[in-house]
């Protein structure tokens, strides 16, 4: 269930748009922040709160890549491999994480701590290579810096 705080925030947000359906992205963000991923239960509750069909909510969830449709690790590591990062050897960054955590992109470590994902351009082209963990950007990466970051999370 969504927290009381989020439900109140949703009611406030409804006033800012011409149709409550517009609050679907903000509401999904609130659910994901509270639960880590978007379950069927979440979609049902959001549909109910906004007065829209649940299949519509599912259609939205499946369109946007940032919504997790299954549980992910505590730390979701997203490594940009688009052109600007690729030119700065993002493949080495990705490989280093794969070797250290023993997972491939799309996988989660057995204890559920880390999920690794390959990402599209995250707008850090001038500070490539880079990765995002949760909300945070880590830029100008090299193997040593990567080790320090991962050690601090392990």
């Amino acid at each position: 269930m969504l927290s009381e705080k989020s439900l109140n925030a949703i009611e406030e947000l409804k006033k800012k748009y011409r149709h409550p359906q517009s609050v679907v992205l903000p509401a999904l963000w609130m659910w994901q922040e509270e639960h880590g991923w978007i379950s069927e239960e979440g979609m049902k509750q959001i549909a109910e709160v906004l007065g829209i069909p649940v299949h519509h909510v599912f259609g939205v969830v499946s369109f946007y890549t940032m919504f997790n449709r299954k549980p992910v690790g505590k730390y979701k590591i997203e490594v940009c491999t688009n052109v600007s990062c690729m030119l700065k050897n993002s493949d080495r960054i990705l490989k280093h994480i794969e070797d250290r955590l023993q997972i491939k992109p799309g996988e989660t470590t057995p204890e559920g701590k880390f999920t690794l994902v390959e990402a599209e351009c995250l707008g850090s082209c001038g500070t490539a290579p880079m990765m995002q963990i949760g909300d945070r950007y880590y830029e100008d990466l090299d193997e040593a810096k990567l080790d320090r970051i991962l050690s601090s999370l392990e």
Binding site: K16, Y17, R18, H19, Q21, S22, V23, V24, L25, P26, L28, W29, L50, I52, H56, G59, V60, F63, Y64, T65, M66, F67, T81, N82, V83, S84, M86, L87, K88, E120, C121, L122, G123, S124, C125, G126, T127, A128, Q132, D135, R136, Y137
Partner: protein, 427 residues
């Protein structure tokens, strides 16, 4: 050359409201509120400002498309979805000068009689959304946004809307659908947003950097502004330089500078003084240029058009002589395949086919006929889709074949071709 920086001024803590105010912040909003709305639009029109989101459309002209009288409320969408590979400029405005953007939004809202402005920011920019939210809250608290702004009787709201990871939502009609809480599918045009935009109401969509230029125009006056940089595409422009350069970053420059000067002087040149093999001038969807082709080419709409490319988002990607361009174009095409929304068959299927063919070149089992097959697929996407993503996927491939055909030829498998039969491989 040195020029006063107008979009990203070199002033400490400029992102804070009191610092911004101490340098004359929000005084241009006050000035605008004392003018007639159409006078504000006229000022922007005469300045020559053109959109900084990629299409270079004249901003003031776009504003005049909005109906003066309307039974329905009018909306402004500010596009901060910044997702074009190689582009990282709006992020600098969010971080270092959010109030100038907010002031620009309010001036634009006044000029067009906007009821609510929505600032759409890509979901991954969570950190920058927090920064902008703080700035918007501060502006509300000071009475710059909301009801009866500065006692003028004019009211408008400003709402930040967070995206959730979809490149296509940077396309204006897709952005409106996303704002309506739908899948981000682009809409067929016409009707155009100024007649039938978000919730069927008159809507204008402007890029973040474009909007941040508006207070500058009011401060300098249209005439002085129009004299900055290239006369047909004037003003300061945020140029992002990434890839093989010593000092990558975003540089605020007048339009019309030589690409070679931007790369050499501002971005510090190429590491190891290597030769430049190729340059993508304005984000991954703009046509790639050969390194030996960029001499004399300038960063403005006319200059890049003459060179056979476009300004796009001015996100320049530099590649040195050792770059594997087949790998580059395969990666770019994988991106467009991933980001195609799936509405139009040529784009949905074509981007995937192009990616498959390109992987054959990458892995060394392409047939000689695959070069023309690839071009054929690209040509059949271009111009045949609802939105410009189809073109954006086709142009890099077409230009890569046109300007670097030898790179493809070098990667053809020795005869007889070892790849699977074409019909099978394409589907």
């Amino acid at each position: 050359m040195s020029m006063e920086r107008l979009i990203l001024p070199d002033i400490p803590e400029y992102h804070l409201l009191d610092v911004y105010e101490s340098r004359g912040g929000y005084q241009m909003l006050r000035k605008a509120l004392g003018m007639k709305p159409e006078e504000v639009t006229e000022e922007v029109k005469k300045s020559g400002l053109r959109g900084r989101g990629g299409a270079c459309f004249p901003t003031g002209l776009k504003w005049t498309f909005m109906p003066k009288q309307s039974d329905k409320p009018k909306f402004l969408c500010v596009n901060g979805d910044e997702s074009e590979p190689g582009t990282f400029k709006d992020r600098q405005i969010f971080e270092f000068n959010p109030h100038q953007m907010i002031e620009g939004i309010l001036i634009a809202a006044y000029a067009m009689g906007i009821a609510t402005a929505y600032l759409y920011i890509r979901g991954e920019y969570a950190t920058w959304i927090r920064m902008v939210r703080k700035a918007v809250d501060d502006a509300y608290a000071k009475g710059y946004v909301g009801r009866d702004i500065m006692g003028s009787g004019f009211s408008t709201e400003l709402v930040i809307h967070r995206g959730a990871g979809a490149y296509i939502c940077g396309e204006e009609s897709s952005l409106m659908n996303s704002l309506e809480g739908q899948r981000g599918y682009p809409r067929v045009k016409p009707p155009f947003p100024a007649q039938n935009g978000v919730w069927g109401c008159p809507t204008t969509i402007n890029n973040v950097e474009t909007i941040a230029n508006v207070p500058v125009i009011l401060r300098l006056g249209w005439e002085a502004y129009s004299k900055i940089g290239h006369p047909r595409h004037p003003g300061p422009i945020l140029v992002g330089v990434s890839g093989h350069v010593n000092k990558p970053g975003v540089f605020e420059l007048p339009t019309g500078l030589l690409l070679t000067e931007i790369i050499g002087n501002y971005a510090g040149g190429v590491p190891g003084n290597k030769r430049i093999k190729a340059v993508i001038p304005g984000g991954s969807s703009t046509m790639i240029l050969r390194g030996d082709q960029i001499a004399g080419v300038t960063m403005d709409a006319d200059g890049l058009k003459a060179a056979g490319s476009s300004v796009g988002t001015a996100g320049m990607i530099v590649m040195d002589e050792d770059t594997d361009l087949i790998r580059v174009i395969t990666r770019i095409t994988a991106f467009y395949h991933h980001e195609s929304c799936g509405q139009c068959t040529p784009c949905r299927e074509g981007t995937g086919w192009m990616h498959k063919i390109l992987q054959r070149f990458e892995q060394g089992h392409a047939a000689a006929s695959d070069i023309d097959l690839l071009l054929n697929v690209a040509n059949n996407i271009e111009g045949n889709t609802i939105c410009a993503l189809g073109d954006a996927a086709a142009w890099p491939v077409q230009s890569m074949i046109k300007r670097f055909r030898e790179e493809f030829e070098k990667r053809v498998a020795p005869a007889p071709a070892m790849g699977p039969p074409l019909a099978e491989a394409v589907h």
